[in-house]
């Protein structure tokens, strides 16, 4: 979660606010440490290390996240898959000289992608194939934002805005009744360029897009969002932003919609969320496009 995180609290009691924010930050860091695939001691790393070898005991929180990932996989008809991270071995967006992998390379890795190869229950998880990996990248950060909002509320904070790297969860608007005004960035223009602004009192907004982690080769843009069914980067949309009651819903809806490409609008309508999409030509779509 290497991005700007920010918690804004509107409260009269500074000490209470500081305590609540400290507790919320502590929980965000806890989730980051628990599920980061970059950390040696995380749950994710433990599960991935045991791939093809043995099952790993998990707690109720991890089981709940797996259950949610299972829903996302089913609703996206397999395009969203938390085992798709191995494709990054072919698609290296961090490399100084990125390249487009050949089809055989992608196909070889695709053999390690597949939620159907994950055996999981409420107590344990097992990745069947040696070399498989899972990661909670598409869910964990938004889940942390929702939990942070809950912690603030439980500590008496009635007005707050949690921003974890551009995924936002609002609580109770601002003091005095005004909603939080959230700007949605243009995916191609400088960070200050806003395509729309949305007023949110209680709810969340998350954006998924090709603005970060991509490379261009021979005039084509390859973004980090990889379709688990093809192993290829998606290209129908520059970005899709979703407004939903929870950040975790907004986040997974925007990611699934990006992966579904031409079926994004129908999927988002089926989930009864408000959305704004910028297609490959830069044209705006969605219920927030007015």
């Amino acid at each position: 979660m290497a991005a700007t995180h920010e918690i804004t609290v509107d409260a009269d009691d500074a000490e209470q606010a500081r305590d609540a924010v400290d507790a919320a930050i502590a929980d965000v860091l806890r989730i980051e440490a628990k599920y980061s695939r970059y950390r040696d001691d995380s749950v994710t790393t433990a599960i991935n290390r045991a791939a093809g070898l043995r099952e790993v005991a998990i707690d109720a929180e991890t089981a709940a996240l797996l259950r949610y990932a299972d829903h996302c996989h089913a609703l996206s008809r397999g395009h969203f898959d938390i085992t798709s991270g191995v494709l990054r071995r072919a698609w290296d967006f961090r490399s100084a000289s990125p390249r487009v992998p050949d089809a055989a390379e992608v196909e070889a890795l695709r053999a390690l992608v597949g939620w159907e190869h994950v055996q999981w229950s409420g107590e344990a998880v097992r990745l069947e194939l040696h070399g498989m990996e899972i990661d909670f990248g598409g869910i964990g950060k938004e889940y942390a934002a929702d939990r942070a909002a809950t912690i603030l509320q439980e500590r008496g904070i009635a007005h707050a805005l949690v921003n974890l790297g551009g995924d936002l969860r609002a609580v109770g608007g601002q003091q005095g009744g005004a909603p939080w005004r959230i700007g949605i960035r243009h995916p191609r223009r400088p960070a200050s360029a806003v395509v729309a602004s949305v007023d949110v009192s209680d709810g969340a907004i998350a954006t998924s897009g090709d603005a970060e982690r991509y490379f261009e080769k021979d005039g084509r843009r390859y973004c980090h969002l990889l379709d688990a069914c093809t192993g290829m980067p998606v290209s129908a949309w520059q970005a899709i932003s979703v407004a939903a009651p929870l950040a975790v819903v907004a986040g997974s809806c925007s990611t699934i919609a990006m992966l579904l490409e031409s079926e994004a609008a129908a999927f988002l309508e089926s989930q009864a969320v408000a959305w704004l999409g910028v297609d490959a030509n830069g044209t705006l779509h969605g219920t927030l496009a007015q």
Partner: protein, 371 residues
Amino acid sequence: MAATRGPRPGALLAAALTLPGVVPQAVAQSVPDTGYIQFKYLDYRDWQPGARRMRVENPGLFVLKPLSESLVIEGSLVYDGMSGASPLYFNALSGASGEGVTDYRSAGDVRLTKYFDRFSIGVGVAYSHERDYISRAGSIEVRTWTADKNRTYAFGFAGSADRISADEGAVQGERKNVLDFLFGITQVLSPTSIVQSNITYSRGHGYFTDPYKLLDNRPDHRRILAWLTRYNEHFPSRDGTLQLAYRYIDDSFGADSNMLEVAWVQPLPHGWSVRPSLRYYTQKSAFFYFGPPVGSGLRPGEPYTADTRLSAFGAWTPGILVAKQLDDGWSVDLKLEYYEQRGSWRLGGDGSEGLLPFSARWIQVGVTKTF
């Protein structure tokens, strides 16, 4: 397109709500982790057309303190000062505001609750004393909850032993004993709604008669079945909570009653909150109640009362509670309630005749410190 025929609307939101901690949970059972001390002062008056009746001034002190992570003690001390035309006598009798009565009651109770992983046990004792009436009571309550704490069952048992001696009446050392059995379920329905339903069966025998009332003679057994259901729903879009309560009482005296209350709790900026409420109450008359004139319907050896509290009537109680959260765990609140009772307001039938409307008001101020 396939995506349109597959998912159920909002399926992801429903799935996400099963993630732990993404929304504040309504939790049916948890150990209090903060204590409080609360002082309340109640000023009560009632009246009828042309006659002021009772006045009660009642300071009370309430304390709850966690002694450890699993042990909680709570207790209260109440002192009532009553004055006026008491005890309530016959409603339509002009002389009822005669020389008046002054009386005091002091009462206290202590309850200790121990929480275990999946259940809790609470034990309480209570004592109440006034010049003509002494009451001792003990209770035990066991609660148990499901692993997700979304459902709690409560089983309670209480017993009280009262002693009645009235200076003015020829009553000395009469006794009344009551046993109460309680069964309740609290169920979290969703992250924003919770329902609670309690059934209490009360069985008493002994002296139920009012020693100050002329000709009062009540049965020496009373069975009451009370069923109370509460439903709370929080509306995040309005930041407010709807509170509904319904109670049905089946009374072997015949004074069966229904009560419905609707309230809305609305937090406001700067720590304020308001709770407007409206309550409707209706009851049948006891089978041995006879209206004015006094003595009508009286048969030697048969139960008889002219106490208007056992007549058939309906009553409305509008009220408002205003509270303000202050710094450092302090809060203050003010509650105002107005009560009006009329025979003609009884639901589904005529009320008792010949009674004047009866009105009362409560003003209660409270100061609470949490720690």
